[in-house]
């Protein structure tokens, strides 16, 4: 039947168009990353002569990676970044989900107001408060500690986390929580054993959205914890940028390595992430 054939051709065309657009977007998004990775493996001269070219046998140089790996400080920076990111993330997810659960589950006076107060932080960039935060950290004797960074990042991540969690936790069936209450579960166990497993995709979504800005941040490490012992990767990379010369090979190699943990975590979470995003989309 001709009409059926037309439909399949039309479908194939539209599928091709969609894939074309997505591929183009993918190329655009990956291009800077590609440049970082290939130039990290080239000699300094080659980086400037032909930045877009793949490393050849003439231009290949492992010097960048060597100076990153050989630099005894680098594992320390890496560890600092991991600690700061993972602890902040854990706190954001735990506190965010708990606050959202309380807001969506319990009726109490001032519920809406409290919810607004917790969420309004989305509209105020935390960097505006940098000076006050620095003063606070100095007074608390927390400058040059990872704790300072963790506290700031947790505060920074909470509003969005609470916002997203509240929306999804409201959708968790009330009857299932009541059923758990009749089964004799405490409110904490209802939260951890019944509610949390139901919103795993949302947790993954919030985790990815909160993790990336923390891992990539340069501002707060530079201001609150610039000390040698507490530098994060993004700050540590700066040591390759001198006042007069920049060791681009090392900078790019360091950045290539720094991408890895985020990539790994993203891959772990992404299966859930897609479900989380589409769940929101369908729910409307």
């Amino acid at each position: 039947m001709p009409w059926r054939k037309r439909t399949t051709t039309g479908q194939a065309l539209s599928a091709a168009a969609i894939h074309g657009v997505l591929l183009a977007w993918c190329a655009l998004a990956l291009f800077p990353l590609y440049l970082v990775v290939i130039n990290g493996a080239k000699s300094r001269r080659a980086i400037f002569n032909d930045p877009l070219k793949l490393p050849t046998s003439d231009t290949f140089s492992a010097k960048g990676y060597a100076s990153v790996v050989g630099n005894s400080e680098f594992p320390l920076y890496f560890g600092n970044s991991l600690v700061v990111t993972s602890v902040s993330l854990l706190l954001i997810l735990l506190l965010g989900a708990m606050a959202a659960h309380a807001l969506s589950e319990y009726r109490f006076r001032g519920n809406t107001l409290l919810g607004l107060y917790l969420i309004v932080g989305i509209m105020v960039p935390i960097r505006l408060g940098t000076v006050a935060l620095l003063e606070l950290m100095v007074n608390l004797n927390l400058t040059n500690t990872l704790t300072a960074l963790i506290l700031v990042y947790t505060a920074q991540g909470l509003p969005v986390a609470i916002f997203i969690f509240t929306e999804f936790l409201r959708a968790v069936s009330r009857e299932i929580k009541d059923s758990a209450r009749i089964d004799g579960l405490s409110e904490y166990r209802i939260f951890f054993e019944v509610v949390i497993p139901l919103v795993r995709p949302v947790i993954a979504t919030v985790a990815v959205f909160s993790m990336i800005p923390i891992w990539n941040d340069l501002w707060f490490p530079l201001i609150l914890a610039p000390g040698q012992e507490t530098r994060t990767v993004t700050l540590g990379v700066q040591q390759f940028i001198g006042q007069y010369t920049v060791d681009w090979g090392a900078v790019l190699a360091a950045l290539s390595v720094a991408v890895l943990p985020v990539l790994v975590m993203y891959i772990i979470f992404s299966r859930h992430l897609i479900r989380g995003i589409t769940a929101g989309a369908v729910k409307g």
Binding site: E175, I176, I182, G184, P197
Partner: protein, 342 residues
């Protein structure tokens, strides 16, 4: 097994009073159905019995224990919810045994009780499935099984069949009735469906606007409704209500005098059920057929008796009427109900 007593139970949310001075005694082994339109407070009353909401005033007792201030898990109740409320990440077996496991029962004991409940509800082949791999009817059976496993004093059902399709609903209704006969347990069942109420209940509690309108066996409610609301709610299709007069000791409909009546003269509401109207060529009521709905064995005939006087009659399906036909009816005196004019 236990009795359930409600004494002066009221519930207030902020400024709205949703339940007002509810008094009710449920006997041991009785199946009581709360029925009423949505928003009448029947589900709230069930949640008060369960302990999911706190009473504002009044007492709830199960057996001889005052449970008004006990948490749900200490009240000896089990509840089946409209949405089944199964734990989606646990298998059927996990769902059935969860409450016992949480209470710290020995594993052998849990297995014995779970297997027994599964046998009653024919869930044996589904034990390792997750809820999402079950049909609606199967999920509801698991939800009921979860209640059975806990061996509660009182079973609470909150519109358990509302999410099922019509055929399955009839089937599960019979299942619940069988279960009640088998376990002999005290059960409280909430529904807005009067058919469910009529078929299941030992006694029905009809509620409206947070108050009990009438309590009685299904037949008592059907034969002797206390007021117009109960009369209209019980029975399907609903009772016909006609504006009538009492004149000189007789009920008068339009200009047509009907049976004698001892009430004082004045306006009155005459109620008669569709199934009690009889086609009778010598009957006192006559009117034009407006709509004729044939169901095979029986037919619903919508008849206009006069201005603002419309009735539905449930007649046998032998005789077919067309719109515009004239029909004569009689209404047996003992089947007529008189209510205060509203």
């Amino acid at each position: 097994m236990a009795t359930l007593d409600l004494k002066g139970v009221s519930k207030q949310f902020d400024d709205t009073r949703v339940l007002d001075n509810i008094n009710l005694n449920v006997a041991d082994g009785e199946l009581v159905v709360f029925v009423g339109p949505s928003g009448c407070g029947k589900s709230t009353l069930l949640r008060l019995i369960a302990g999911l909401e706190a009473v504002t005033t009044g007492d709830v007792s199960i057996g001889d224990r005052d449970v008004s201030h006990l948490p749900p898990s200490k009240r000896g109740i089990a509840m089946v919810f409209q949405s089944y409320a199964l734990y989606p990440h646990k298998t059927v077996r996990g769902n059935l045994g969860f409450a016992l496991k949480h209470a710290g029962a020995p594993a052998a004991d849990i297995k014995r009780r779970v297997d027994a409940a599964a046998a009653i509800l024919e869930l044996e082949d589904l034990m390792d499935r997750l809820p999402r791999a079950l049909s609606g009817g199967q999920r509801q059976r698991v939800a009921i099984g979860r209640a059975i496993v806990r061996e509660p004093d009182v079973f609470l059902f909150d519109e358990p069949l509302s999410n099922l399709d019509a055929a399955l609903r009839v089937h599960m209704r019979v299942e619940i009735l069988k279960l009640h006969q088998r376990l002999g347990a005290t059960m409280v069942y909430v529904t807005h469906d009067q058919t469910e109420a009529m078929t299941l209940a030992d006694r029905i509690v009809v509620m409206r606007d947070g108050c009990i309108e009438q309590v009685g066996t299904p037949l008592e409610l059907y034969r002797h409704p206390a007021n117009r609301f109960v009369a209209g709610f019980i029975g399907s299709p609903a009772m016909n209500f006609l504006d009538a007069q009492v004149r000189e000791g007789r009920v008068v409909l339009g200009d047509q005098p009907l049976h004698p009546c001892t009430r004082t003269d004045g306006p009155i509401t005459l109620g008669i059920r569709p199934e009690h109207l009889v086609q009778d060529d010598d009957g006192p009521l006559s009117g034009g057929v407006e709509v004729f709905e044939h169901l095979g064995g029986e037919a619903f005939v919508h008849i206009t008796l006069g201005e603002n006087l419309k009735v539905v009659a449930k007649l046998d399906g032998e005789k077919v009427y067309r719109p515009g036909d004239t029909i004569r009816l009689s209404a047996p005196e003992e089947r007529c109900h008189l209510f205060e004019h509203s």
